[in-house]
Subunit: 165 residues, 2 copies
DNA sequence: TATTGTTATACTCTATAACTATA
DNA sequence: TATAGTTATAGAGTATAACAATA
């Protein structure tokens, strides 16, 4: 019924008369809200991911995009935006950055002059490989936490991602 | 091995020769990354929450804060920041906003002149009650999706939130 | 008319660092 | 010295709306 988040639980209780100390916080309804813990978990995971990769030169949003282009040479920006679950307007600047440092290349597509096909450059492939190592290590950490219930967790998260909204 | 996110799966295939269409996107390693789906699920949940409440006058970050103050009258900003898993510097502006529209009140605490105790005003309690209805409806939607596995999902998310980082 | 991609703009969440006033 | 709170600043993620080019 009473809980504290993260490391704060172990901090000392100041023992003030009328003040609520860390140790006795009531989360109330929040405690059973999936949305609340989804935010906490995602935030923690994001921070850990940045720590694992950010020391180098990765920007957090890049990995999924590079990975999708690497796995789908010729993919268009619009398909990319759908696959990554973001609006197309958020893809443009990422692609611009990746182009600027020559990790990806664009090529016009014969059938449709509005669009273009994306692919990784050799440097992009190298970078993706390096990032993948970091990402794999990161996800291994998550895997260790969820133990044998990873498949179920993924299934639930996928369902939430797909069916809500 | 092949998957598409969200509603894009049902969009028409343009049938262009060299282009990757929505229907055939390979997520690759991403498909088994907890972090990837954590982001998608959290984002979907967040959008749905905004849709449920945002029509009114709620700002997304407010609910958790109001809820924590409501459940812990006299709580201090620093305890609030720990309970909500955010840095103290992110709490200040939220409290300022909530003060400005008179949903919360502050009172000095006898033992420590650096800090102060927070509580909901009558208007704050009313607002929290109204928001709680929206939030409950939102979480009920999530509950329906996860069915009988809510307890396990919460346990896993809590563990990720607490032990990563 | 609808779609692809870009741009402009804005909002939210979050953090770090430097500061003050206390403790 | 260490902690509570504030401020300034910055960065990531995301979205909407309006636009040009093309379908």
């Amino acid at each position: 019924m009473s809980e504290t988040i993260g490391k704060a639980a172990s901090s000392a209780d100041a023992g003030n008369a009328g003040t609520i100390s860390d140790r006795e916080i009531h989360l109330g309804p929040l405690e059973n809200y999936i949305g609340f813990y989804l935010r906490l978990a995602q935030n923690a995971s994001f921070k850990a991911f940045k720590r694992h990769t950010g020391e180098g030169d990765l920007r957090p949003g890049w990995f999924a995009i590079l990975s999708l282009i690497g796995g789908n040479p010729g993919i268009t920006p619009i398909a990319l935006s759908r696959a990554s679950g973001r609006d197309k307007s958020t893809i443009t600047p990422v692609l611009r950055d990746l182009m600027r440092i020559h990790l990806i290349a664009r090529e016009s597509v014969p059938g449709d002059r509005r669009s273009y096909a994306l692919s990784l450059t050799p440097a992009g492939k190298e970078k993706l490989a390096r990032l993948s190592e970091h990402a794999a290590r990161h996800d291994a950490e998550l895997d260790a936490l969820v133990g044998g219930r990873k498949a179920e967790l993924l299934a639930l998260l996928r369902r939430i991602a797909a069916e809500i909204d």
